[in-house]
């Protein structure tokens, strides 16, 4: 593992007309391991990836990949594998021919095609036209294309999109293996459970600004306990919520339970408060926040909130 960061950005800015997709983003991503890149829709993840790959140019600031400026992507392109958004192939051609085309573009030996097809479990289906592939198979083929040059850095946008549960587990293991074997894998995903399961390092961006960058363990250390409770009679839920709020508890209704921001040490107090209000609890579960809950707290709970936030940032609302 090298100590020097595999990707750095310094005051990286990209504007699309009045929209600022990346806003003076400064971050360093460590070499080796799996790095999760997360953020709400429109947060600037795709823009960042495109700048790193030389597909678009920044409006300001700069970035390096493998120690080289993104202004000269040809110097590192052969060491980077990518899967950007949905896998892109020519549907009429077979999986093998599509990969052969990419191998020839990169001047790679055709043995690599067989190797990556086997790696993603498509060796037996490689002669079929891609148009007959399911979304999950196309996704595997996209990952195969990214692995073709045996790259030091893999940038994968939603790699488990469309995969069935077994496929998700396989790809998760593959990403873990790649990260353990000295490669760096940057995974952009909306599936936070996947990010939580495979990533060693996490980068969170919102409105093009950095919210968090650090080890996953550091992020998870921010988790807090909460207590989920439900009443014996559904009709009592609103009354209990009102009683608890009046007593100073922080309560949020989540699906069919009330989520109380409190740890296990206060479970008995909570039970007594419910009893004092004349309500019997049918459920009381102490649990830990997961990455999704921390993420939502950091970035905003709903798309509408995000949209309003962006509009406010752009000065479109008072």
């Amino acid at each position: 593992m090298s100590d020097s960061p595999i990707v750095t950005t310094t005051e990286l800015t990209r504007r699309f007309g009045p929209i600022t997709a990346l806003d003076r983003l400064t971050v360093e991503l460590p070499s080796a391991g799996v790095i999760g890149l997360v953020g709400p829709n429109g947060s600037g993840k795709s823009t960042l990836i495109r700048i790193l790959l030389g597909l678009i140019r920044p409006s300001g600031g700069g970035a390096t990949v493998l120690g080289t400026s993104t202004g000269t992507p040809q110097t590192y392109a052969s060491r980077v594998g990518v899967l950007i958004e949905s896998p892109a192939f020519i549907p009429a051609l077979s999986a093998r021919t599509n990969l052969v085309s990419l191998a020839r573009l990169r001047h790679l030996p055709l043995e690599r095609v067989d190797a990556v097809l086997a790696q993603v479990g498509l060796a037996g289906r490689d002669r079929e036209p891609v148009k007959r592939f399911s979304l999950g198979m196309k996704q595997r083929l996209g990952i195969a294309a990214a692995l073709l040059s045996d790259p030091e850095l893999l940038i994968l946008d939603e790699p488990t999109n469309g995969l069935d549960p077994a496929g998700i587990v396989e790809i998760r293991e593959l990403l873990r293996d790649l990260g353990r074997n000295g490669r760096t894998v940057i995974v952009s995903s909306h599936q936070l459970s996947e990010i939580e399961a495979v990533c060693d390092h996490l980068v969170v961006i919102r409105f093009g600004k950095l919210i968090f960058s650090g080890p996953m363990a550091e992020m998870m250390s921010r988790t807090r306990e909460h207590i989920d409770i439900a009443t014996e009679h559904a009709a009592d839920m609103a009354r209990l919520e009102a009683a608890l709020v009046a007593a100073g508890w922080a309560v949020t209704a989540v699906d069919d339970v009330l989520r109380v921001a409190a740890g296990a040490a206060r479970a008995a107090d909570l039970n007594r408060a419910a009893t004092a209000a004349g309500i019997t609890l049918s459920r009381l579960v102490v649990a830990q926040d997961n990455l999704e809950e921390i993420f939502l707290e950091m970035t905003g709970r709903v798309d509408g909130e995000l949209a309003n936030g962006r509009a406010a940032v752009e000065g479109k609302v008072a």
């Binding site: 392109a77 980077v80 950007i84 892109a88 020519i90 021919t97 020839r104 573009l105 990169r106």
Partner: protein
């Protein structure tokens, strides 16, 4: 530089694409020869400014070059087919999102563009050959059935066939580059085809109808003259020079746009 060319040639091996491309070339070669022979033997003459095709006279048909007259007569139709296929191949990379993968793998975008042009030039050579073969196969029985003398058709056979092939090929290369340019600008095959067909069938025909506007330099006229090996209005040398200018200008525009523009699709 060989990598992008071989990569593009691999992607060109789409059975449906090749069947459509070569099939249309063969169909138009067959159709134009059948119609042309009947038209010429019936004593018909072309109206001025007629779009798309330009039939020879009976004397031209019965000369040594008559054997390959169909290629030149339908050069603009072949041109539209070529423009369309180049546009489909170029814009297809944007439609499928493949362009992201290609540019990420080969950031020197001019190499990608050059690879595509060379691969399509090779494809166009094959398509021109298909048209030439079908032309020769179709015109013989059609001419004999229509009573057109074919006695002179064996004279200078290699020169006539090779010259007609080369002239059509050069014209089609220019048509193809036009398709590539429009598709690169519009990132859409449909737009490129609409612009190309609309230009040849409508715009250029309308301009030709204006007596006080010189029309010999127009793209369709120029490339038609290249395919015919020169006309009364435009010499072969002038046509070749003009066509070369169009191709260079088109490639410079396509190259500048492709290299500089963001790949956001």
């Amino acid at each position: 530089m060989l990598g992008p060319i071989r990569s593009e040639l691999t992607r060109l091996r789409q059975p449906r694409l090749l069947v459509i491309w070569f099939g249309l070339m063969a169909l138009f070669a067959l159709m134009i020869n059948t119609i042309m022979v009947r038209f010429v033997s019936g004593g018909g003459s072309m109206p001025p400014g007629a779009p798309g095709v330009a039939f020879p006279t009976l004397a031209d048909m019965e000369s040594a070059s008559g054997l390959m007259a169909g290629l030149a007569a339908a050069s603009n139709m072949f041109g539209i087919v070529t423009l369309s296929l180049w546009a489909v191949v170029t814009a297809g990379d944007y439609g499928s999102g493949l362009i992201r993968l290609l540019v990420a793998a080969e950031p020197r975008r001019w190499r990608l563009l050059a690879g595509k042009v060379v691969a399509l030039l090779i494809g166009t050579a094959a398509a021109t050959t298909v048209a030439a073969i079908v032309n020769v196969v179709a015109i013989m029985p059609a001419a004999q059935a229509a009573g057109i003398s074919t006695a002179a058709w064996g004279t200078d056979l290699v020169e006539v066939v090779g010259g007609a092939w080369l002239n059509l090929y050069l014209a089609l290369c220019a048509w193809g580059v036009l398709g590539l340019v429009i598709a690169t600008l519009a990132r859409s095959a449909a737009v490129a085809i609409a612009v190309g067909v609309g230009y040849v069938l409508v715009v250029e025909s309308m301009v030709k109808m204006l007596k006080d506007v010189p029309s010999d330099w127009l793209l369709g006229t120029t490339l038609g003259a290249v395919a015919k090996g020169g006309t009364d209005a435009v010499s072969y040398g002038t046509a070749i020079t003009l066509a070369f200018g169009y191709v260079v200008l088109g490639l410079v525009i396509a190259g500048a746009v492709f290299v500089r523009r963001d790949v956001t699709d």
